[in-house]
């Protein structure tokens, strides 16, 4: 990355780096929140079919597994999507 080229910029190199990491962090947080919300919805539906008087240990085990599997699914889907995009790109050339 060539930081010296931005001479006319109002930002110094440090300021720019700070702004960039701030932007990235905010996006990461938003993304994590979105995923967490989806996990809560899906895993509640699949693991808590008969809500008891408390969250049983088998409920908790199911929720833990379910969350891990949701992240697995997200990664599998992401990989498939990215590979498809690359394939489409290769065909377009």
């Amino acid at each position: 990355m060539d930081y010296s080229s931005g001479q006319k910029s109002a930002l110094g190199a440090n300021e720019r780096a700070a702004l960039m990491s701030n932007i990235k962090q905010q996006l990461d947080v938003a993304h994590a929140q979105e995923l967490l919300q989806q996990v809560s919805e899906k895993c509640f539906k699949m693991c808590i079919q008969k809500p008891g008087s408390s969250l049983s240990s088998s409920d908790q085990k199911c929720l833990t597994y379910c969350m891990d599997r949701y992240f697995d699914a997200f990664n599998i889907v992401g990989r498939a999507y990215s590979q498809r995009l690359q394939k489409e790109l290769a065909n377009a050339r």
Binding site: C47, Y65, C66, R69, V77
Partner: protein
Amino acid sequence: MDKLLETDPELARFVAEMEQTSRMKKTTEKLTLECWDLCITNPNVSRFDSKTESCLVNCVERFIDSSTYLVKEFSNKSQSVSSSSDFADSEMIIDDKFTLSPEPKLNEQEKKSSGFKFW
């Protein structure tokens, strides 16, 4: 911010890259939501079996096939009824829902940043 981006190509590049990454993550999130319901019958396992994994992959492929197919069908239709303003409105909905319009842009960037991470 706009003015800052004009005078700072490095920052502008970064922001464009972030926008593209976000778009891809959003699409992946949406696909995961849809394909989870279709493919996962039991999440209470220590790992997916190969059948579930290929279901997820097929789900993504067929979803993209379906939207591509529908866009083609749709443009055939809207050519024969091009005067109707209803179709112009619906086209916007397809853009929003299936995120087809940003994809060509995505592809260009994808070439450059090969080390893209989803998670």
